[in-house]
Symmetry: C2
Subunit: 464 residues, 2 copies
């Protein structure tokens, strides 16, 4: 198939790395979750390699409420709130995109619209919002709720939430602020747009108290892959982070989601699909295998079991023998698509509970690959050329080491193949991703819409 | 009276300056509200002068909904969300404290506890939270509410909100995180404290997903001066920003609030009272007067009237002649103490509506003084020595010029009088303010509580 541009690369930064035992690695920054200098170092490494963005997942709760396993896990115990962290990183970087997760289930759209618009101004056009609906009950209990809303209700709310946020981001036209000291006119009244939203979940008047963002709107990202998640992404998302195990699976997802876009009047290029990949890179294959084995040795059984239980949507597996099969599971309200992926895998491979948690320990169901830079690049190239991916959500198993390895070994190999940029193409995240500038609905575009795909047609808003 | 240490100084940064017409000043940064580099410059100026902190007020709405006046006002139209902004500034500074306003009326305590704890880690111990209850209905309409809650209800909620936030900040003891790679124990289970709060306004389980802050708890600030505001401050605040017009008024407030502390088992030194002061400094008195006159000339009548109307709690004054007296006003639910201050002033001075808005245009009812550095320092010294203030909340009428003037002219004069520090005494905001370290309730203090006033007794938490 024809080459469709170059691959995008995003660095998904789990504090100590994506492998569940990463924090125990001798070179791990064990206090990573609350170590700002650690994150600045990672962001600068990714920026040096010309990654499109860094990305932070989130949980508005200590996820594991079982003190026995929780006390052995570094993941989602204590870590920075992502938006706060990214605005600190914005001040310490110049080019890299900054994507934070924020849940629509336990937030107010006005706050979220405002924070991401602020981050976009602070970073001069590098903000992205990963819209999530939260994965479990533990968050509900921190927000005066007695239960986590049902999957369909969460997506219903998320859809309206995204409409409100997008509407608030359009509260002001790009050139609304005259700031004419002589006449005393600060803004042009006709270029303020009061939202006056009223829907089943929200009543929000507006206008937003932040000027239109340098990117017009921060980049909208999603990661859900249930039916509702895919449909919401087709309607609203500009980037999807997804999980697939095989080229065929990834191709099917890619074709499925891209095919839905036309329903919403969208061109296939306006949504970038980035499957997760957790690479263990060695200078030889043996070195890569040894790195993997070293990490697997560090998994405490209580931690493996807790991870598996969370990924299955909070199922309690403690009564079942570790070396026996996965029992029949009740239907989950939490993370539907992930549960199905794991159950199918266990059945197909005949995995015991222990084998299943060992299998997900590296990347939680994402695509985990090991080998030399050439091995890794071969596989990424096959996915990219095979229309399974517009780029990759790189999930280093350890940090900072796993990111350094990818940047020092794999990125040069991708460049040799012309698969990845030598320099940033644009000044904003949107421009680097090749996404169109979202003109204000009330403003006349200066060129036909088709000409702006690629995002180069329009300078950064003057009010940045 | 005896000298009680040295004065504290906080820089209250309204985007373009506190004078209502500041944005029209020839040297004003008219896009200040969304200009990150402008704020970094201000923060570095304040840090160079060894100010304790910078402070940002807030409004979760475009405050003025009258398009005619709003379009001529730069205040509270578009500006950064404060926490997001301060974490960006944290990365660009090293010593200065960072105090952001966040309302308890339209937020969730878990989010607020988490964001300020994050900011404290990012800044390595420089965060402060100004607890506010919001001043008007305009915010309600952005958060799916049909009305702004009554004053008493807001304070009732605020009090519980502060309890929850403080409790969440104590979710982990200072030394809870062992991060022992060898044994695999990440934290000591007995040093995690689940809050399990259940009250009339909130049910919050916890624990917070951020380690205990470098300051133990971020510094708690308040600015309300109603009866309910003073009582809440006496119970919970460590810094109060207040407004007073005369030495006597300031002394009365100081004595009143400090006298309430013993009810809550608190020492008078554990709360610092900082009245607002808006200084116009000249190299001569004539120069100061000329600077003031230049600003007063720039006030558009629609803007003056709108400011006055907002400060009176949203009263509509449009039917009344500008040169006539202030009419009888309905009781307000919004900003009780401020309305009373202004009504009393107008009656006492026989001000017309126009005279009243001109009078507040400079500093919105705060203490506005003009003169040479010596004149200004004389007055600050009298207030400080007269036990009317532990320091000052400096409100530059213009920015960056008004802050530069204060730093270059007044600060050296205060130093000559030994009224202000030559160097930062501590590493954290709390240490510089001379506030005690809040030991974790479950931890045994290493010295009797009295010995820690001054905050020097205890190193920064190891988990910072």
């Amino acid at each position: 198939m024809a080459r469709h541009g170059q691959s995008k690369l995003n660095a998904f930064l789990h504090p100590t790395g994506h492998h569940v035992a990463a924090w125990r690695h001798p070179r791990a920054q064990a206090d990573a979750g609350v170590n700002f200098d650690h994150y600045v170092e990672l962001a600068r490494t990714a920026e040096r390699a010309k990654f499109d963005a860094i990305f932070l997942a989130d949980s508005a709760a200590v996820r594991d409420q079982n003190i026995e396993s929780a006390s052995r896990v570094a993941r989602y115990v204590v870590h920075f709130e992502p938006i706060t962290l990214l605005s600190g990183i914005a001040a310490a970087t110049r080019h890299i995109g900054l994507i934070a997760t924020a849940t629509t289930t336990y937030n107010e759209p006005f706050h979220i619209a405002r924070k991401f618009a602020s981050l976009d101004h602070i970073s001069k056009g590098r903000a992205g919002w990963n819209l999530a609906t939260s994965a479990g009950e533990v968050e509900a209990f921190n927000f005066s709720r007695t239960a986590h809303p049902a999957h369909a209700d969460r997506y219903d709310r998320a859809r309206e939430f995204a409409q409100v946020v997008t509407g608030l981001w359009d509260s002001w036209e790009d050139d609304a602020f005259l700031r004419d000291k002589e006449s005393g006119l600060y803004f042009e009244p006709s270029k303020q747009h009061v939202l006056n939203h009223s829907g089943p979940h929200f009543a929000v008047r507006g206008p937003l108290n932040v000027a239109r963002a340098p990117q017009g709107r921060p980049v909208l990202v999603q990661a859900g892959s249930s039916e509702a998640g895919k449909e919401l992404a087709a309607e609203t998302a500009e980037v999807i982070f997804t999980a697939a195990q095989t080229l065929e699976e990834a191709q099917a997802f890619y074709t499925d989601v891209k095919g839905r876009l036309s329903r919403y009047g969208r061109h296939a290029d306006t949504l970038k699909i980035l499957p997760g990949v957790s690479p263990i890179v060695g200078r030889t294959r043996d070195e890569a295998e040894a790195k993997f084995a070293e990490l697997q040795e560090l998994i405490h059984p209580a931690v493996g079991l807790s991870l598996l239980s969370q990924m299955l949507g909070g199922v309690d597996l403690s009564g079942h023998p570790l070396d026996g099969p996965l029992p029949e599971l009740p239907e989950t309200n939490a993370a539907k698509s992930r549960q199905k992926l794991l159950v199918d895998l266990a059945r197909r491979e005949g995995f015991s509970i222990r084998q299943l948690y060992q299998w997900i320990a590296g990347a939680r169901g994402h695509w985990a690959i090991r080998g030399t830079a050439k091995d890794i690049a071969d596989q990424l190239e096959a996915w990219f050329e095979g229309h399974a991916a517009d780029g990759f959500n790189v999930m280093p198993p350890t940090l900072p080491g796993g990111l350094d390895d990818f940047v020092d070994l794999v990125v040069p190999e991708l460049r040799r193949r012309k698969l990845f940029r030598e320099e940033y193409e644009g000044r904003t995240l949107r421009e680097n991703l090749g996404l169109p500038y979202p003109h204000h609905p009330a403003a006349k575009p200066s060129a036909p819409p088709g000409c702006e795909v690629g995002g180069q047609a329009r300078p950064i808003a003057a009010n940045g």
